[in-house]
Amino acid sequence: MNRRRVLQRRLVAAVLVLLSLGLLTLYFREADNGLVHRVQDGALRVVTPLQEGSARAIEPFRDGWNWIADLFGAKAENERLKKEVEVLRAAVAEELTTQAENDELRALLEMQRGRIYPDDVGFVPARVIARSTTAWYSTVTIDVGRDDGVQQFDAVVNGQGLVGRIESVKASACQVQLITDQQSYVDAMVVPGQAEGLVAGSVTGSVSLQFVAKSEEVKAGQFVVTSGRQGSIFVRGIPIGQVESVGAQEVELYQSITVRPAVDFRKLDIVMVVRR
């Protein structure tokens, strides 16, 4: 009797482990319209309204929690902002000296006035209904999907700047890969200036501007926006963040530039999918 029970117990565990491994293998091997993806799609239709309701219910508590967290960081933030204002003032004074620099500032001004998106792009408003809980992934789920015309690789923005891009699309929801994700790369440029590179996320949550040659002059406080160069999935000029620090070691080919994202990802709630 005991032996039978031991066998049964082990069999149950083995079957479930194999089933999980099978699901995982199928998920990665099949196309986006494969069986496992379709099952996930169908199940998500049931789960999404529940998540939407819960996300709304928890919003006041989340805001309260963030408010408490902000209180602790307010003093340090204030000091940092004061220093940043000084740096920015100095940078703006310098930039006003030549005509070329004036043009660049004009472009920056246009960006701030919101003239970033061409007339032919559309926006789909969405609400964040779930977030990844592990440090390995920086993703959120939003409540719009294929039914709303959203496609894979569409850009996702909010009032502050670039949030990320659509990674996978289901009928009623989709997953957004945030720019802080370790596998996120965005074509970017520094304004004012000519420096171009790739904004990359990391598992630590920090964002860096990579592949900027040492010959390019980049200073703390400058803005980083999407470059929108040919082949890029993002339109030109979406704010990504500000240069926080610039460093270069002799042995390295490129500068190491850290970027403070424009978007506060802790408070992400309403976003826009940019439909092209």
Partner: protein, 186 residues
């Protein structure tokens, strides 16, 4: 008398009753909602509490390895669906966690109040190692120091702190624990 009780226990352990299934379903639903909506909004030193894992471990400690493994599989699959994660990843981790937590209950003395804490602590350690291995295979890597300091340690502390409350909650929902150790049945 004792033999009859043992045989009743065995029968119950292989097939949960309708009421028991309903209670397990409610816990599954609670685990899903907590994990997908509450957990992501609580970040302490970069880590979020893993409510799904704590509930799976609590169920396994109270109902044994088979129920623990099945409950872990279902919870992991649903969490994977809701968070649009690769399907099977969380399921695999929670099956292993549920099974071994159940085995712990079937072989160790759970009368000590620290038992749920030990169970959740060990399960969190095991889940994190498994998850890191899977991520490594998927070419998502993380510096070892960061993983220990910002992922493993905070989740060990958070999950262990929450263990007792959730264990008592799950115990209440399931209507108490069962005799799981073979030497205590007869």
């Amino acid at each position: 008398m004792n033999a009859r009780r043992a045989s009743t226990e065995t029968a119950t352990r292989s097939l949960p009753s309708g009421g028991e299934l309903a209670r397990l379903g409610a816990l599954l639903f609670a685990a899903l909602l907590l994990q997908t909506t509450v957990a992501p909004n609580i970040r302490i030193v970069g880590a979020s509490p893993d409510f799904a894992l704590i509930i799976v471990v609590s169920v396994a400690l109270l109902r044994g390895s088979e129920v623990g493994a099945v409950f872990g599989f279902l919870t992991g699959t649903l969490v994977g669906v809701a968070l649009l994660e690769p399907l099977g990843m969380s399921a695999l981790v929670l099956v292993v966690v549920g099974y071994f937590a159940g085995r712990y209950a079937e072989t160790a003395d759970l009368s000590a109040p620290v038992a749920p804490l030990v169970g959740v602590f060990a399960a969190t350690l095991l889940a994190n190692v498994l998850f890191a291995t899977l991520q490594y295979l998927l070419e998502r890597q993380v510096p070892f120091g960061f993983w220990v300091g910002r992922v493993l340690l905070p989740s060990l502390v958070l999950n262990t702190l929450l263990a007792t409350v959730f264990y008592l909650f799950v115990r209440f929902v399931l209507g108490g624990g069962r005799v799981l150790r073979a030497d205590q049945e007869a």
